[in-house]
């Protein structure tokens, strides 16, 4: 079996300036916090970040924004980290705001090889700007395109050595979706156990999606 367990440094070595990086979690719950700290220290720049939200100024994705490491962000909510709005208004951070359900589906589509999806969400709002509208059986939908990334940084409560993942409570959120949608998937696992310790019925993300794991 290929060893996927690496050091924090090895894991972070895959992340380069200008890359598109998906970051799991929802208001920092389920965000791999150690990876945020390591990226701040590493100082990679011009990242395009994809995440549900901008976190808090001192927690989650917010740390990378405060440290001005992103040129663009794709998120559904940035209200609890004023830095995101400030950089957006100053024109130093390009911001693409996406309805949360659409964001989830776009990432899922990216990971699942779909060319896009039709959603009623956003019809009649500024979200429809620049998008194709398609009528199906008399109802109008927006065509939303898939999202993919170079890197996904996700967190898991338990991982086995094959990379099978288990998420505790509300830490699941975007993590299993992002695990499918990036060229390199790096997991910050609270606990890494032997193969077989997670019941095959209860695996939430199969190990085939995981490239590297760090016990954090």
């Amino acid at each position: 079996m290929i060893n996927k367990i690496v050091t924090l440094e090895e894991a972070m070595s895959h992340i380069k300036d200008g890359m598109t990086v998906m970051i799991g979690g929802f208001m920092a719950a389920g965000t791999p916090e150690k990876f945020m700290d390591a990226l701040v220290e590493k100082g990679v720049k011009n990242l395009t970040l994809i995440g549900n939200d901008a976190g808090w100024p001192d927690r989650g994705i917010g740390k990378l924004l405060i440290n001005k490491q992103a040129k663009k962000m794709i998120a559904s909510h940035i209200g609890l980290n004023p830095e995101a709005g400030n950089q957006m208004n100053a024109g130093t951070l390009e911001m693409e705001l996406v309805p949360q359900g659409t964001l989830a589906e776009r990432i899922r589509a990216g990971g699942n090889g779909l060319g896009g999806l039709l959603t009623p969400t956003g019809v009649g709002t500024i979200v429809e700007e620049g998008k194709q509208k398609i009528e199906v059986d008399g109802v109008e939908y927006l065509l939303e395109k898939p999202l993919k990334a170079d890197i996904a940084l996700i967190s898991a409560s338990i991982a086995d050595k094959r990379g099978n993942l288990y998420f505790n409570k509300a830490t699941k959120n975007f993590n299993p979706l992002m695990a499918t949608a990036a060229d390199i998937v790096i997991v910050g696992a609270e606990k890494i156990v032997e193969v077989g310790e997670i019941d095959p019925n209860d695996v939430m993300t199969p190990g085939l999606f995981v490239d590297y794991m760090v016990e954090v």
Binding site: F26, M27, A28, A29, G30, N52, D53, W56, A75, S76, H77, I78, G79, L80, G85, M88, N89, M95, L97, P99, Q100, G101, T102, L103, A104, E105, I107, R108, T119, P120, T121, G122, V123, G124, T125, I126, V127, S157, F167, N168, K169, A170, T171, K172, N173, F174, N175, P176, L177, M204
Partner: protein
């Protein structure tokens, strides 16, 4: 009883046994306090679970268990966790019986604006656009005016959250239903006259013959 309590108590009466309900952040959250003990209502938290319970006792917070505002919460028996695509599948797919949201503006076509003020507040739409499109019943709960300024308008001026989706508006002044023909004042808080309510409303209210006293 202050305005917010009046509103929350009245909204609670709209919910039925067995309902699946999503409450927005702020005032809508208060609604949970007024559900009769013998009524079975399950609250969905769009970050990934059904069965949202009360705020935990101090010291008993679980960082893996937060609501969509990132605040510590608890779950009730029978709860279930899921990822963000399932969460919004529930919402967009019409499996939420009612959503209760605040508003910046709402109009007589059932349009809602509650997610941004251009040049000022741009927190992002989060899950609001999906909720308003997907929930079977959209209840707007808010104070009738904002510092004397109208919020119930002929036509929303702020960017929309969704078009033609609002079913009901509940304020401290009364209960309004949004129908094809316009906004109907179905119940009035006896502390106000019809004239006062109309004066606080830009849209022309339709006053039915059987206008009822607001049940609180």
């Amino acid at each position: 009883m202050d305005a917010k309590e009046i509103i929350a108590r009245r909204v609670a009466k709209e919910l039925k046994d067995g309902d699946i309900v999503n409450l927005g952040i702020g005032l809508p959250t208060m609604v949970a306090n007024y559900i009769p003990k013998d009524m079975d209502v399950m609250f969905q938290s769009e970050n990934g679970f059904i069965g949202l319970g009360p705020v935990p006792e101090e010291g008993k917070e679980d960082e893996d268990l937060v609501n969509s505002g990132g605040q510590p919460v608890t779950i009730v028996p029978g709860a279930a966790f899921f990822d963000s695509s399932v969460s919004f599948g529930i919402i967009r797919g019409g499996h939420v019986d009612a959503t209760v949201l605040g508003a910046l503006q709402v109009d007589e076509k059932g349009n809602l604006a509650n997610w941004m003020i251009p040049g000022k507040m741009v927190p992002g739409m989060g899950g609001a656009m999906d909720l308003v499109v997907g929930a079977k019943k959209v209840i707007i709960s808010m104070t009738h005016t904002a510092k004397g300024k109208h919020k119930i308008l002929k036509e929303c001026k702020l960017p929309l959250t969704a078009a033609n989706q609002v079913d009901m508006i509940i304020t401290e002044m009364g209960v309004m239903e949004v129908r094809k023909e316009g906004i109907i004042l179905t119940e009035i808080n006896p502390e106000y006259t019809v004239e006062q309510v109309q004066q606080a409303t830009e849209a022309k209210l339709i006053i039915p013959k059987d206008l009822k006293q607001m049940e609180i």
